[in-house]
């Protein structure tokens, strides 16, 4: 099955300089994303999971070039977007949109709903001026908001409704790729399900491709086709949903999955608990980044960095970055 890659990320690195010293020079870097490569095919939902500070959100922002990546390449439909000029970038921005975590902060509080959507339409000249308002209302209705709410301000809405506004704004410019950066994490469980279902419905309707950034494995299991697990700025495992959940290979993934609550009282859980904290991304551990917390650590884990590789007994596209996953 030959599918077209919509987005291709090659060795993406995002370092944030730390200024210090008397002259304010750069003394070190926070290596938020340290060389990740993956592909997203048209129409699929890929999830980027990992705990706080593993660089998943930063990766999303770097792909959109909300931050300029330190190095590496991002191809959108075979066009490299990491190097292009600001003006060219603005012209293609509409193809990739983002939905944010915090519905409070992600909409300008001083604008009315229609103004928010109409501005998006205006910037990208989606529809002629006279149709703009009706198109905006149509979009609001698509995400489940009513026409009577069109002239209200964001503060009159609940978190879930505001998230719908954010979704409508992202959709207004007919994007191909939508990055959902913890898009449902700030919502109540019941609202969360509604929004997830809305996202799924919209995906079918508009042929969207999602990059879903989340720490919530329940949500990820519900929505994704493929899952990428990140740890300290690196990809540790990448697989389609079923093989990852049924047959996790990397010790870190195993630990993550064992932490999902099971809705069955009395069931004995084989909980794999990791010791210690995530090391600092300023000075990440040598070799395998996970070696400081890995229960199966061996000597060469501390010096040699594992690469993402596949194995015979694994399904196609299942890749693991561990020296010993076959022996575990």
């Amino acid at each position: 099955m030959e599918r077209k890659a919509l987005l291709r990320v090659e060795d993406l690195k995002m370092y944030f300089p730390i200024h210090g010293g008397i002259l304010g020079g750069v003394i070190n870097h926070v290596k938020a994303v340290d060389g990740i490569s993956f592909e997203i095919y048209e129409g699929e939902t890929v999830s980027l999971v990992g705990e706080s500070g593993c660089g998943k959100s930063t990766a999303g922002r770097a792909i959109l070039r909300l931050e300029k990546p330190t190095s590496g390449k991002v191809f959108f439909k075979d066009m490299e977007i990491t190097k292009i000029k600001k003006k060219q970038l603005r012209a293609i921005r509409k193809n990739m949109q983002i939905i944010f975590q915090d519905p409070q902060a992600s909409i300008n509080p001083r604008k009315k709903l229609t103004q928010i959507i109409e501005e998006a339409l205006y910037i990208n000249k989606i529809v002629p001026g006279k149709d703009r308002r009706s198109k905006a209302i149509e979009l609001l209705e698509t995400v489940g908001l009513g026409k009577h709410q069109a002239d209200r301000h964001p503060h009159e809405f609940s978190g879930g409704q505001r998230q719908r506004i954010g979704i409508a704004r992202a959709l207004s410019v007919n994007p191909n790729l939508v990055i959902c950066d913890e898009a449902v994490s700030a919502l109540d469980v019941s609202i969360r399900a509604q929004i997830l279902n809305l996202l799924k419905k919209l995906q079918r309707e508009f042929q969207l491709t999602y990059l879903f950034i989340s720490h919530d494995l329940g949500v990820v299991r519900h929505i994704s086709d493929r899952i990428i697990v990140m740890y300290l700025g690196k990809i540790v495992e990448m697989a389609d949903k079923n093989s990852l959940f049924d047959n996790p290979q990397h010790p870190y993934t195993k630990a993550l999955l064992s932490a999902i609550p099971v809705p069955m009282p009395g069931k004995k859980l084989e909980r794999m608990v990791l010791a210690g904290d995530v090391p600092s991304p300023i000075d990440p551990p040598s070799g395998c980044r996970f070696h400081t917390r890995c229960p199966f650590v061996k000597d060469n884990c501390k010096t040699e960095e594992p690469i993402l590789r596949s194995a015979e007994n694994l399904k196609d596209g299942h890749m693991v970055a561990c020296h010993y996953f076959l022996d575990l």
Binding site: R61, Q101, I107
Partner: protein, 297 residues
């Protein structure tokens, strides 16, 4: 120990401080109304503006008419605040001076704002080299004692009302740039700026339509407080002879003229001095009040 423990952080605190989604102007006014001192300060400023416009037609004396037969008369029913060493009615001169004082206060702050706010926004928005260069300039301006800087600038521009407006205005630039930069940095970090950037909006559009409207309140507060300081500095410059020249009925200049008669006829210096104090106080109280109304912590 806990593997996946990511709470749902949000940044309503910064958002509330700068943008205040729920607030709006009506709420601000309601809070201002609750602060009685600030409200009356505001009404008093309106009253002063009114006086400066219609007052000159009501007093019945000419502020420039020299009449040595009524020289240095103490306050009476005829001359409420007495007369000065040239026999001019001090009350009339103070009323005429009101518009000069307010003009200096408002225009110098306007000048400072028009230069300082764009500087601050550009500095905060683009960061990097532009920011470093601009902020060093601001630091240098701030490192001078304000008065000294104003004196230096006023003497460069020569003694006139417009020259003190420029001098005091330039000095205000640094303060406005600071405030605008700080607020811009806070707003710039909010997600809706990223969202609009991801939609392909130009920098100009983001700055003008999304950052500027959300940093107005700290700038208004700063402006109100700066008016008070500017009036004070302008009066001081005129007192030193660098600003308004006699016979202009500028309060600082009147105060300066009155100091020669301080022991025998204190009213000549007293009333202009009181006028300066009251106006500055009114602006300060009003400024504090709207700061509290905009930013109730």
């Amino acid at each position: 120990m806990v593997i996946m423990n990511e709470s749902t952080p949000s940044s309503p605190e910064i958002a509330a401080k700068v943008a205040k989604p729920e607030a709006g102007w009506r709420l601000t006014y309601r809070r201002l109304k609750r602060n009685k001192a600030a409200l009356y300060g505001g009404y008093f400023i309106l009253f002063l503006v009114l006086v400066s416009i219609i007052g000159p037609y009501l007093t019945g004396y000419d502020p420039f008419q020299v009449d040595y037969s009524t020289k240095l008369v103490t306050p009476s029913a005829e001359h409420w605040f007495g007369t000065d060493h040239h026999g001019r009615d001090i009350f009339t001169r103070i009323i005429h001076g009101m518009s000069i004082t307010l003009y200096i206060g408002f225009s110098s702050v306007m000048l400072g704002m028009l230069v300082g706010v764009p500087m601050g926004i550009i500095s905060g928005y683009y960061g990097k080299t532009i920011d470093a260069v601009m902020m060093r300039i601001v630091d240098i301006l701030l490192a001078f004692p304000g008065m000294l800087l104003a004196i230096a600038l006023a003497s460069v521009f020569g003694g006139s009302i417009n020259s003190i407006i420029i001098a005091v205005g330039i000095w205000s630039v640094s303060h406005f740039a600071r405030v605008a930069r700080g607020s811009t940095l806070a707003v710039k970090g909010l997600e809706y700026i990223d969202a609009i950037r991801a939609l392909g909006a130009s920098d100009g559009r983001i700055i003008y339509l999304h950052i500027l409207p959300n940093i107005v309140s700290p700038i208004i507060v700063q402006a109100t407080l700066r008016i008070a300081i500017s009036i004070l500095i302008a009066a001081a410059l005129s007192f030193l002879g660098l600003g308004a020249q006699p016979p202009t009925p500028e309060w600082g200049a009147m105060l300066s003229a009155g100091r020669n008669y301080l022991f025998d006829y204190p009213h000549v210096a007293l009333y202009p001095g009181l006028a300066i104090t009251i106006v500055v106080l009114a602006f300060n109280i009003f400024g504090d009040g709207i700061r509290d109304a905009f930013d109730p912590r």
